[in-house]
């Protein structure tokens, strides 16, 4: 009998029933709820003067956004928006937000104004006072800015062609939809993703090393299924734990957003909240992609952590290495001129929890087909998991009980 299923369940029990799992999960969920409800807490200040409570600010903006929901961002709406903003007096000593004119006329259009500004990539004051409303220019500027980005990112001609073809699939002019809930998901994804990876690193650091430190390795290694099957069961348990952690915390984000922000239109264009993305996808599809990407990053981190646990035979050493990998992307970024290195760096698990890396413009060309980051990285991670697990197996097969 190989008893793989039973061994796997016991390995899961060892990992899931640790106190640290419960404590870190509760802390992480509390952090998620707290960060997502920050917009409702405290007051909104401009130049040291309280404007309103954050909750009221949000409720007003929500009502304005709902009033605009379903309108096409075309010449008429752009003109309406700019006209409303032009009513704000030009006063360099006062922030425009505190003016009566902004609150009365412009604020109901702030959502549209922000989209126009991000598409044009122009300073706020220029859009408000000197830019002539022009629908065509808004959408063409976005395309022109993307072309510049692609040049800066050193994309190949093939990649540029691929993205141009993708851009053709994006409907313009775009229909405005209230997207507050998706905005919030996008804004917390990196923090939540990094928290998930850290929890995985901490909780799995002892999956193999704990056996050596607890002296249980003696009885495990001399059992019939104590070598290959136990190793695979532990890797499977690490994978299951990582997937469960990613699912639990992503679900916590979705649930919190749903409770506090409600459900927005799933068919809203993703370009409404992330104008730099050239994937012709909806907001709901983007959320699904972010979940799959987090899942993939979590699993590869879990497998790496498990293997390091066997290599170092010391949980603290594993946490130290994983923390270094976790901190490094915060301080180091590779310039786009080193194209391949930058792409690899962005696609490493600790970087790939960021939406801007999931939806960036680097592609993986295979047999003339360009795979986007979210299409290629999960596949690459699956291969990487196999390689890491294979290397770990070679180490585990040679494991011995020494010293003591």
């Amino acid at each position: 009998m190989n008893n793989f299923g039973t061994i796997f369940l016991y390995e899961c029990k060892k990992v899931f029933l640790k106190k640290i799992v419960l404590i870190s999960s509760l802390l992480c969920i509390l952090t998620i709820v707290f960060s997502l409800t920050v917009p409702f807490q405290g007051d909104y200040y401009v130049d040291g003067v309280k404007l309103d409570s954050n909750l009221n600010m949000y409720l007003k903006d929500k009502a304005y956004a709902e009033a605009l929901d379903g309108r096409i961002i075309d010449q008429a709406l752009i003109e309406e928006t700019v006209d409303a903003y032009r009513k704000i007096p030009q006063d360099p000593d006062r922030h425009y937000i505190v003016t009566e004119e902004y609150q009365t006329f412009a604020r109901p259009y702030s959502e549209i104004f922000n989209i126009i500004r991000s598409y044009l990539n122009l300073p706020t004051s220029e859009v408000m006072y000197s830019w002539e409303p022009n629908e065509k220019e808004v959408y063409e500027s976005r395309r022109a800015n993307l072309e510049k980005d692609w040049e800066n990112l050193r994309l190949s001609d093939g990649e540029k062609q691929f993205w141009r073809a993708q851009e053709e699939k994006i409907v313009a002019p775009v229909t405005y939809r209230k997207t507050h809930s998706y905005n919030e998901i996008l804004s917390v994804l990196q923090t939540v993703g990094l928290a998930v990876l850290m929890i995985i690193s901490i909780c799995l650091s002892g999956i193999f090393s704990g056996e050596h430190q607890r002296n249980t390795d003696s009885i495990l290694l001399c059992a019939k299924n104590g070598r290959l099957r136990l190793y695979l069961a532990k890797i499977a348990a690490a994978t299951a734990f990582s997937a469960a952690a990613a699912t639990l915390f992503f679900a916590a984000v979705l649930l919190t957003v749903l409770i506090f922000y409600g459900a927005d239109d799933p068919d809203a264009s993703f370009q409404l909240i992330y104008s730099h993305c050239s994937d012709p996808i909806t907001c709901a599809e983007a959320v699904a992609i972010m979940f799959v990407s987090l899942l993939a990053a979590a699993i590869v981190t879990g497998v790496l952590c498990a293997v390091l646990s066997e290599v170092f035979k010391n949980g603290v050493a594993v946490i130290a290495v994983m923390t270094a990998l976790f901190i490094l992307p915060m301080f180091v970024s590779i310039p786009a001129q080193y194209r391949i290195a930058a792409q690899i760096w962005n696609w490493l698990p600790f970087g790939f929890v960021s939406p801007w890396n999931i939806f960036d413009s680097y592609t993986l060309p295979i047999f003339g087909v360009h795979l986007t980051p979210w299409q290629s990285v999960p596949i690459l991670y699956a291969i990487l998991c196999g390689v890491i697990a294979g290397a770990g197996m070679a180490v585990y097969k040679r494991a011995q009980v020494k010293g003591r």
């Binding site: 008893n3 039973t6 016991y10 607890r214 249980t216 003696s218 009885i219």
Partner: protein, 234 residues
């Protein structure tokens, strides 16, 4: 049924822990005596396949120590027996039964039987962290017997057992020795005197005595001390 140990050696940098030991063990109980650092645990670990020898081989009926088949007939109680504090005694045995390749129904039956045998039935569902030292040691003995091993290696099995438990344990070992090879090490010479058919004495990694021992041969403890003293003198 034969355990063959052929010129088995283990060297750590400048120290030879086990020095070319050769043995052929058949059914019966073998008591391994030796002072601390004599190489008993190192020898037992190599016999169990959890420590790679520097030289020599270990096989059981032509099965090499590295094979899965060898591990299937092996039962091992290490000196530094480790456990999972959050597991219950029953869970611990069921987990190890799965690792030993025993089917679930048989594992359940065997677990119940061994919990009874080691007087742990009452605490079977309690977490191991609540067990006393003696209870943990009995649990260790139970796990070693889960797969009805043909080769049973016990490193200091009586440590932590009270006198009554030791007597019960001796009887158990004697019974097991009728159908399998039992290799046990202990500091308590009287344990070996009572149950071992054969005595092995190690000193500085070498086997300095190997032979049968009966009460007619005299006091084993005295013999052992003399042997060690004799070796020291040499």
């Amino acid at each position: 049924m034969e355990l063959m140990i052929d010129r088995l050696s283990k060297q750590y940098k400048n120290k030879i822990a086990v020095d070319r030991i050769s043995l052929r063990l058949q059914k019966g109980v073998y008591g391994l005596l030796g002072a601390n650092g004599a190489g008993k645990t190192t020898l037992m670990r190599m016999v169990c396949g959890i420590l790679r020898p520097t030289g020599g081989t270990v096989s059981f009926d032509d099965m090499d120590v590295s094979e899965e088949g060898y591990r299937a007939i092996l039962g091992y109680l290490p000196q530094d027996f480790g456990y999972y504090p959050e597991f219950s005694g029953q869970d611990f045995l069921m987990y190890l039964a799965a690792l030993k390749g025993i089917s679930k129904p048989k594992a359940k039956r065997k677990t119940d039987e061994l919990l009874e045998l080691t007087a742990l039935r009452e605490v079977a569902k309690k977490k191991i962290k609540t067990y006393s030292g003696g209870m943990k040691q009995r649990l260790g003995i139970a796990q070693a017997l889960l797969n009805d091993p043909k080769l049973l290696v016990l490193d200091e099995p009586t440590a932590g057992l009270d006198p009554k438990e030791r007597v019960k344990f001796r009887e158990l070992i004697q019974r097991l020795g009728e159908d399998s090879i039992v290799l046990l090490s202990t500091h308590i010479v009287s344990d070996i005197e009572h149950i071992a058919d054969n005595v092995l004495i190690m000193r500085a990694g070498q086997l300095v005595y190997q032979g049968k021992w009966t009460s007619d041969d005299g006091d084993l403890e005295e013999f052992y001390l003399n042997k060690i003293a004799e070796e020291n003198y040499e």
